[in-house]
């Protein structure tokens, strides 16, 4: 099935996703939203991996599965990161009653 989609289409979408995620991390102030944007960045990397895996075909035309293996590990690590991260955020929320990053800073130079 030829959909006319090339590697560049996928790379462009994943690049945009990565940029959106990065912009969100830099601009947003709610930690939960920042955390979602971080996951978006990981998803962008995943999309890049799958795209490269699909288009770097081997001699028999099968996709190069190495990229997909890394993808599985990224998904797992992201889950572990979310579990730990949300726990820390919940603990901070209980201590400070806020999820706004501009309000949590207490240490000074």
């Amino acid at each position: 099935m030829d959909t006319g989609l090339t590697l560049n289409h996928f790379l462009a979408v994943s690049g945009i996703l990565f940029a959106i995620g990065l912009a969100g991390v830099l601009i947003r102030r709610n930690i939960i939203v920042i955390f979602m944007c971080l996951e978006l960045m990981l998803s962008a990397a995943n999309l890049t991996l799958v795209a490269f895996s699909r288009f770097n075909t081997g001699a028999n035309g099968a996709p190069d599965y190495h990229g997909q293996v890394l993808l599985f590990f990224i998904i797992t690590v992201a889950a572990a990161e979310v579990a730990v991260g949300l726990a820390i955020i919940v603990a901070l929320f209980r201590a400070r009653e806020t999820t706004d990053v501009t309000q949590i800073a207490s240490m000074k130079n």
Partner: protein, 494 residues
């Protein structure tokens, strides 16, 4: 015994510690730390019994794993620092208990303490895997194993706002750097078609790869690892996280996490520097980052009045020296010349000894004087001469006074930079080292010359347990040995 058995043992040790903590009704959880240290000492001994990979060993596992001398040396660094961190954690347990004890009255006051002794062991297993990782997948997984364990450890004091804030900052910036790293890895894999560092290096060398795409992947990876090692402009999290985290963890972070970042950076930079098409730009990028890190790290350290924060800036400054060694990597190694990997390994080994020694004293002063300000160290030379001497040696070595480990670390970096003809980097490093003398010796001056004020004037000597005393003496001896006979350490690196 093959090298990977060590990681399996350390990881199993961590699991055993968790299970013992959960199932055995321990009255005093310090025994967990003792068990962990004992296990790690055994593993450290086994390090010298490792048999190299058999020539006919065709296990696919070796595609992910290297057992070179260098990786064994880094494994030694990881194990040694974990043992010392556990020793520090025993002294520091009072504060951990205070901020983690359950609210219920009848609960055991040490109920939240067990994992604090088990987590460093898991981080150690991750660090050891990373020392041997030669594949993007194994690098990623071991790096994340270490990072996620550190998220938990930094935020461990869950009723202490400072620790939690440090945890959240480390979490957000750590996850951000993971995002960059993975995206960089995805591109590196995409343009070379391989996850194996040797194959990636060959592909980059062959010239079939677009240099623009290779540089894009490199810059993403440089941003990610810049966060991990604390290179300017990605260093902003370091002071707050170092200050907020429990002191033993800060020590672990500044040694273990930095060593981990530099192993990966060494491996990946070798891949890029091997390619004619991009080597020039890559070395230039390293040089710029190294120069910035040297200047910012050293100059912002000068006005600090909190000792833990000072050590955080000092950690940035040392990252600058290490990056200088990377930037000055010789294209072709001449006979008798040290490779930049050897210099980095030696520097990290020396940095481990002196930083852990400094943090040992910081932790004790924090527990007994309830302060981390430099003012609290006034008069320490009179009230606790042993600790003051330890801190004096740590500071002298960090500053790079001759006949200490730190001197030869800096000496080799300068040698490499001068041989490579990087004169402006040499100038910046010299300015940085000069500033270092000022801010490290400020602490020494406070200990020996300044009269104590307020509560510190009446403070009694700080009690030092036998274990801590043994750790301090070992570190001092090692610093002096490395300062007199650096060739011994270089021989270990191979």
């Amino acid at each position: 015994m093959p090298a990977y058995a060590l990681e399996i043992i350390v990881f199993s040790l961590g699991l055993v510690l968790l299970l013992v903590d959960a199932f055995a009704k321990l009255e005093d959880k310090r025994s967990l730390a003792w068990l962990g240290m004992l296990g790690l000492v055994v593993v450290f001994g086994l390090l010298f019994k490792v048999e190299p990979r058999a020539a006919d060993d065709a296990n696919v596992f070796w595609r992910f794993y290297s057992d070179s001398r260098m990786s064994l040396f880094f494994k030694g660094i990881a194990i040694l620092s974990t043992i010392l961190v556990l020793a520090m954690a025993i002294d520091y347990r009072g504060l951990i208990e205070k901020f983690t004890a359950p609210a219920e009255k009848k609960a055991h006051p040490q109920a939240g303490l067990g994992e604090f002794f088990a987590l460093p062991v898991f981080a150690c297993a991750g660090l050891m895997c990373m020392a041997s990782a030669t594949n993007l997948v194994s690098i990623f997984v071991s790096l994340e194993a270490v990072t996620i364990t550190f998220y938990v450890m930094v935020a461990y004091m869950r009723r202490n706002v400072g620790s939690l804030e440090a945890g959240v900052k480390y979490l957000i910036l750590g996850a951000l750097s993971t995002g960059f790293l993975v995206y960089g890895f995805a591109w590196l894999y995409g343009i070379t078609g391989s996850m194996d560092l040797a194959e990636i290096g060959a592909a980059l060398k062959s010239g079939d790869v677009s240099p623009t795409a290779a540089l894009f992947a490199f810059s993403l990876i440089l941003v990610a690892l810049g966060f991990k090692v604390g290179a300017v402009p990605f260093q902003m999290w370091i002071p707050d996280v170092y200050q907020g985290a429990p002191t033993p963890i800060t020590a672990f972070l500044s040694v273990g996490s930095k060593a981990a970042g530099f192993i990966v950076l060494l491996r990946l930079s070798a891949v890029f520097l091997g390619s004619e098409a991009v080597a020039g730009q890559v070395a230039m990028a390293f040089a710029v980052v190294a120069g910035l890190t040297l200047i910012v790290g050293n100059l912002t350290a000068i006005p600090q009045s909190n000792f833990k924060r000072l050590l955080a800036y000092s950690s940035i400054a040392h990252a600058g020296f290490l990056l200088t060694a990377l930037a000055a990597a010789p294209r072709k190694l001449e006979a008798g010349q040290l490779s930049s990997a050897t210099v980095v390994a030696f520097y990290l080994g020396a940095y481990l000894l002196m930083t852990l020694l400094a943090f040992l004293v910081v932790g004790l002063v924090r527990v007994h004087r309830d302060s981390e300000e430099i003012e609290a160290y006034r008069g320490l030379g009179k009230s606790s001469p042993f600790l003051a001497l330890a801190l004096l040696i740590a500071m002298a070595s960090l500053a790079g006074v001759p006949l200490t480990a730190g001197f030869f670390g800096k000496f080799f970096v300068f040698q490499l930079a001068i041989q490579g003809g990087h004169w402006w980097l040499v100038t910046l490093a010299a300015i940085g080292a000069g500033a270092g003398f000022y801010y490290y010796l400020k602490v020494v001056a406070a200990m020996y010359w300044d009269d104590p004020t307020g509560a510190a004037a009446k403070a009694a000597a700080i009690p030092v347990s036998a274990l801590t005393r043994a750790a301090v003496v070992t570190l001092i001896v090692l610093i002096v040995i490395a300062g007199f006979a650096p060739r011994m350490i270089l021989g270990l690196i191979g």
